[in-house]
């Protein structure tokens, strides 16, 4: 019976993919590559065919690529119906229908959700509307920011020194623009790589002429008489004059459209099992709804089955391939999504790459090279195991450490390594911020008086 259903689905079923970016496209290609012959629909809120985002904060801002031409190459024909420029606004799990912003509805037999994330806007709406206050996520954002940088602003102000903010600051310095970066933590990249490596990133910024302000927050953006941003007020009571402000405060997951659908979706993403099948809010796995990419949150066997949300390019590709495979095969042929987390960035001419999950690390050992030279490998340890590694201009070693993570190799690292320096003989605290900061996660409460009428009630949190 079930086998018949899968055969029927593969032959003439209807698959809808919501989200037409990297994950959506690669899933569509995988479905066709693995023999799905039914009807395929891709829904995307942006009016463009799938394009690549990493170049937007690097090659585009450096003038080496056009913001309007980063469309992804296709690996194969996907023969899909494209619904671009129209967002999905609702999901009816019972009727198996996706509602669209133009009032249309699309029916599916199996659904893949790959709606990704968007840039977190500046929270004060009036200030966010000032001319010159920019975000960087879409290609329109990149085109707008590039145009403003080319116009030669007196000073650029970047709020937030994560990877995106640091890459923007790096591009500004290459264009010889004065730039100030404000960061709430003690250094750039602290959330992703910890304080020890963050201190190296801080030195990189200041040596390259960035006016880096740490342990501060932005309290207000001030505009002039015609509504252009003019100055930035900081929590240390200083004021910085700037005519371009780049808000780089991370991202928000695009899950609002699923509110009330019954899926386990909220600000932290959509929870799914290792096979990419979405959970409903009761924690029960669904049969016909799959998730992939930035919006997914899935358990990873190598990291204590913790639910990981990974806003990584490589995760979007790998999870899309696994989800697509699992959507059209029998249960026993399904694969778990066991991708080794990995990402890259480059700033101030330094290539930064990582494997594993650095924020899980309690301790850090510099096993090769040296922090002072900005050329090193750092290994993160958690409860006696290697859980991650980071490299600055030393990427060729990462494959080795990836194998160490996969094998659960012991930490501290006992074996000798090439180019080990005295500073790398023993581990130091990795310096991640206290995770007990306030969060705004969704809540689930139990209601009812007896076990017979007990119900779970889901309270979606506001983003």
């Amino acid at each position: 019976m079930v086998a018949d259903y899968v055969e029927w689905l593969r032959r003439e079923g209807r698959i809808v993919i919501v989200g037409a970016s990297l994950a959506g496209l690669r899933a569509a290609e995988t479905l066709r590559a693995e023999g799905f012959a039914g009807e395929l629909t891709l829904v995307g809120d942006e009016p463009h065919e799938p394009y690549d985002r990493p170049p937007l904060s690097k090659a585009v801002l450096l003038g080496k690529a056009s913001p309007h031409h980063t469309e992804l190459p296709h690996r194969r024909e996907i023969d899909a119906k494209w619904r671009l420029g129209v967002a999905a606004t609702g999901l009816d799990l019972t009727a198996k229908r996706v509602r669209l912003a133009d009032g249309d509805e699309v029916e599916y037999d199996r659904l893949l959700i790959a709606t990704g994330v968007r840039a977190r806007p500046w929270p004060k709406e009036e200030e966010a509307r000032l001319d010159g206050v920019c975000l960087l996520r879409t290609r329109e954002d990149a085109a707008d920011l590039y145009r403003r940088l080319r116009a030669g602003p007196r000073r650029v102000f970047v709020i937030g020194a994560g990877f995106a903010g640091s890459e923007v600051a790096s591009a500004c310095r290459e264009m010889n623009l004065p730039v100030t970066v404000a960061e709430r933590a003690g250094a750039p990249l602290v959330g992703a790589l910890g304080g020890v490596v963050g201190a190296v990133a801080a030195d990189l910024q200041t040596e390259n002429g960035v006016d880096l302000r740490t342990h501060v927050t932005v309290t207000a953006l001030v505009g002039d008489a015609v509504g252009r941003v003019r100055a930035v007020h900081l929590s240390d009571e200083s004021v910085v004059e700037a005519d371009v402000v780049v808000v780089s405060l991370g991202s928000l997951r695009n899950t609002e459209w699923l509110t009330g659908s019954g899926l386990g979706a909220g600000p932290r993403g959509i929870a799914c099992d290792a096979g990419c099948r979405a959970f409903d809010f009761r924690g029960i796995v669904t049969d016909d709804v799959f998730v992939a990419g930035d919006v997914a949150r899935s358990p990873h066997a190598l990291f204590g089955y913790q639910f990981l949300s990974l806003e990584h390019w490589g995760n979007a590709v790998a999870q899309a391939e696994t989800a697509a495979h699992n959507m059209i095969c029998h249960g026993a042929d399904r694969r778990p999504h066991l991708w080794m987390p990995a990402f890259w960035s480059s700033m101030f001419g330094v290539n930064i790459k990582s494997v594993g999950v650095p924020p899980m690390g309690e301790q850090l050992m510099i096993t090769q090279g040296s922090l002072a030279e900005r050329r090193f490998v750092g290994v993160y340890g958690y409860q006696g195991r290697v859980v991650a590694a980071v490299s600055f201009d030393n990427t060729r070693w990462l494959e080795f450490y990836r194998g160490q993570i996969e094998r659960g190799a012991p930490f501290p690292v006992e074996y000798p390594t090439v180019d080990r320096r005295p500073e790398g003989r023993r581990p130091v605290p990795a310096g991640f911020p206290d995770p007990s900061l306030p969060t705004h996660g969704p809540m689930v409460t139990l209601s009812g008086y007896s076990p017979a009428d007990q119900q779970l009630v889901f309270h979606p949190a506001r983003h």
Binding site: E34, K64, F343, N351, D393, T395
Partner: protein, 76 residues
């Protein structure tokens, strides 16, 4: 033509930057910057770069990589 480089795979061997310098360039010692929309006249050079990449990190429109392991291995 469109192209994309999997920079998780890229290890900065710079073969592409030698073979198609108008499309690929090293930025610093190890980081790669590239134009995702190369001119059609670059096709021949990009094809050589795709083939020469030691870690097969480049995907380009209409160019098969020699390894050809793009599709899932158990695809039916």
């Amino acid at each position: 033509m469109r192209l994309v480089v999997d920079l998780n795979k890229c290890q900065g061997y710079a073969q592409c930057a030698f073979l198609a310098p108008d499309v690929f360039a090293m930025h610093g010692e190890e980081a790669l910057i590239y134009d995702p929309r190369a001119d059609e006249e670059q096709r021949e050079r990009v094809a050589r770069a795709v083939a020469a990449c030691p870690v097969q990190a480049i995907t380009a429109d209409g160019l098969d990589r020699t390894g050809g392991v793009r599709e899932a291995s158990d695809g039916r």
